[in-house]
Symmetry: C2
């Protein structure tokens, strides 16, 4: 640094690190905004609508960064989350979860406020919505395009047509299209495998749309998980993509090949509470109630996070092999440590860890601290 | 029921079930109080102090049930949790976690309010506490008695004595004793294996105490996890036990053999959002953000919860093999379903699920509803 002076950002980062006392989720706003802009650009170039999934960040503030980038339509994973974002002015919301008819009161409330879309995969739910609603509701038919978690079987054309007919004859309901989540892309490793999931998903959706075309010419196709949306450039036959995790990325996306280390926009800062040279481990204050118990299978065993390097202005992926968090209990995390690390690290230090699944970690921490020291709140259920 | 009338409790339970709209953690107060009284009785008969771990329930209200049963000393897993329970009048608190010296301000605050004990396993931390404290602090030496998560090696007598000497020469610090958590009991299955962990743990602790006896004659021994405290009757050489999970129990404790199904005092009520006869599954609104991703390995694969039967006054373990939750994503749970279940269950129904790890599920839900309809709050970090 010329003149030996630290830039303002370095001073701020030192100040933040010095003030941390408990596990804290750090958010690099610059990386996060770059992730948003990259996906906005890609969607524009591919000619598809970007309806990002907000379950990852669950935050008004991060949502506004999307709005500043031109996004107007969003996806959420629960009706409560729809209410939370509706209260911040989002007016076009899809709840990408089979609609929970137990929450009819909330649905009735929401359709009065916003353009709401829900997922349906059976006839009975259509009847319930039709008879109990008081305003317009968009319906996407959830299709199982290969992930096998939920959705209509794409070859069950008679049931799909029956549901679409029931929607057509309803006063309040409007069929928007067919929707899939290719969660099976999370099993992919590398571009070729991601591309294969992508092509299989699109093939299923295109075939189904063309089967339905004669009677339902206006159905849209919605797909989009973070791996395929990050790696693929073309989305033939697709009207809308709904990736979510890309706003932060994480160690799982890195293993899949969806991102490079420098795109990961969150790190969990964990206090060191013990150093165990005899078993080459460091004990972190940072456990299952912070990271979640989600794990990344690796050849060396399950991994629950990777140690990053602090830099003057944030963190960086280490030069060599990163030290993995090898197990979690409620509040403890066990970090495998090199001799170099064991010699350097002391109780009371703070280490930055890349989470395995940023959606789950964010959901547990309920708050972010940016590298400029800004505290960003998230939704609370209770 | 004589005269065809439902008892009041049945009517209340029907009312509660009818009102549920989202995943809700139900708490059977009667079973929970019975668990508390059983452990209080056992500790009294064994002649040991019961210092229950409150990280499982994290609630003032449930804590008061312990107080009504005569408990006066508690264990918590974080300094924040210590503050939370101190605010409800608990005055003798052990933080059973290697002390986080980053939170010195909170420690200074707590030692002015309550009799506080923390865990230490290195010399540097003793020096930090000694120089920065303003009031008395009890110190337990954390011993690794076989679990290998953290703690001093019991054969490293020179380091242990060095730490005890440093504590003795401190004005504020007082050595309380040696403490272990036999988390390895969670790998046990059945009484014989639990007994073996118990005996190994006690042997380590007794040997260490007798080694230290000449110079430190007053050290106490603290042990106690839910499996050993539930199954064993004798605690020779032990002064204090600290089980936590027993207040609720769960599917993991059932698999270990710590409890019978009827002792499990919590169930997660989950709305059904889809029924998939073609793959014999029911999709629940209830995922990793509700259950946590903790899993129970079984011969049939990983299990994330078991389906219970509703009864007129709560829930019961089913007569045959219970249906397991076979996978979780953020909001979804996939329940393996029998043909009988598939024929009976519809979207909009609510099913009660026994969680795999009640501590983690409670931590996520942040609230209980009792079978009498009382809402019980828990601590919030943010």
């Amino acid at each position: 640094m010329p003149g030996g002076e630290s830039p303002a950002s370095t001073i701020i980062m030192e100040h933040i690190r010095a003030g941390l006392t408990v596990p804290t989720l750090l958010l690099d706003e610059e990386k996060c905004r770059a992730n948003i802009h990259r996906m906005v650009r890609k969607a524009r170039q591919a000619g598809v609508r970007l309806r990002p999934h907000f379950k990852t960040h669950q935050s008004w503030e991060v949502g506004r960064w999307f709005r500043e980038a031109g996004v107007t339509a969003i996806t959420v994973s629960s009706l409560r989350m729809a209410s939370y974002f509706a209260a911040d002015g989002w007016s076009d919301i899809t709840v990408a979860f089979p609609v929970n008819i137990r929450e009819m009161a909330r649905i009735r409330d929401l359709v009065q406020q916003v353009e709401l879309n829900v997922l349906v995969e059976d006839l009975e739910t259509v009847h319930q919505l039709d008879t109990q609603l008081n305003g317009p509701l968009g319906i996407w038919l959830k299709i199982d395009a290969g992930y096998h978690r939920t959705g209509l079987q794409p070859d069950n054309l008679s049931l799909i047509q029956e549901i679409l007919s029931a929607i057509r004859s309803s006063w309040h309901l409007k069929a928007k299209g067919i929707l899939a989540h290719a969660g099976n892309s999370y099993g992919a490793r590398g571009q070729a495998e991601i591309a294969q999931v992508h092509q299989e998903t699109l093939a299923v959706m295109q075939r189904l749309r063309s089967d339905l075309q004669p009677s339902w010419p206006d159905l849209e196709v919605s797909v989009g998980d973070t791996p395929t949306c990050s790696v693929m450039e073309q989305f033939p036959g697709v009207d809308e993509i709904r990736p979510g995790n890309f706003v932060f990325y994480d160690a799982t996306q890195l293993a899949i090949g969806s991102c490079v280390p420098d795109w990961v926009a969150v790190a969990l800062a964990c206090p060191v509470v013990a150093v165990h040279p005899w078993k080459q481990e460091i004990l972190l204050y940072g456990g299952g109630v912070h990271f979640s118990k989600d794990r990344l299978p690796t050849p060396a065993g399950d991994c629950y996070g990777y140690l990053l390097d602090w830099t003057a202005e944030g963190w960086a992926w280490p030069a060599g092999t990163p030290s993995p968090v090898v197990s979690l209990s409620q509040e403890h995390g066990r970090l495998a440590a090199t001799p170099e690390l064991l010699a350097r690290v002391r109780p009371g230090d703070i280490l930055p860890i890349m989470p395995v699944h940023s959606c789950m970690t964010a959901d547990l921490l309920k708050q972010y601290v940016t590298l400029e020291g800004k505290v960003i709140d998230m939704m609370h259920y209770v």
